[in-house]
Symmetry: C2
Subunit: 84 residues, 2 copies
């Protein structure tokens, strides 16, 4: 693996994993006042489209990364709608 | 442009643009209590690596999308650190 591939993998892991601490914090505290409903509506829609893009183009890493991110984003979105 | 390319473009626009309403909300309200510091630390680092990945691999769309997202993410991160 060269430096470009390693950078891409590290980037994908970081941006995918980053939504886990937000989901945990939101589930624990139910504090969603500072969270933008519009952001998570756009973001969850975009992540769903990335998943479909991965599916259509048989790109497994894009599919998996966005399936994971979509789960976190939808959890945060549901909490935002329920507890805003 | 075929359906796969259109889906990819739409996905990129949605996930990139989604951080704008969050940045605007955070700047306006300074309410960062529900926002995860850990999320934005990981996310900004990941977005910086995506930008470098785009730079190293001469992938202009990846570079531009992640440069824009990085600006929004760093604004939210700075507000989180300053007003938490």
């Amino acid at each position: 693996m060269n430096i470009i591939t390693i950078t891409g993998f590290a980037a994908a892991i970081l941006t995918t994993a980053s939504f886990l601490p937000q989901a945990i914090k939101t589930i624990r505290t139910k504090d969603t006042s500072g969270i933008s409903l519009f952001m998570y509506s756009l973001f969850a829609s975009g992540t769903l489209l990335w998943f479909l893009f991965g599916l259509f183009s048989s790109n497994m890493p894009v599919m998996i990364a966005n399936a994971v991110t979509l789960v976190f984003a939808v959890i945060i979105l549901i909490y935002k709608i329920k507890f805003q």
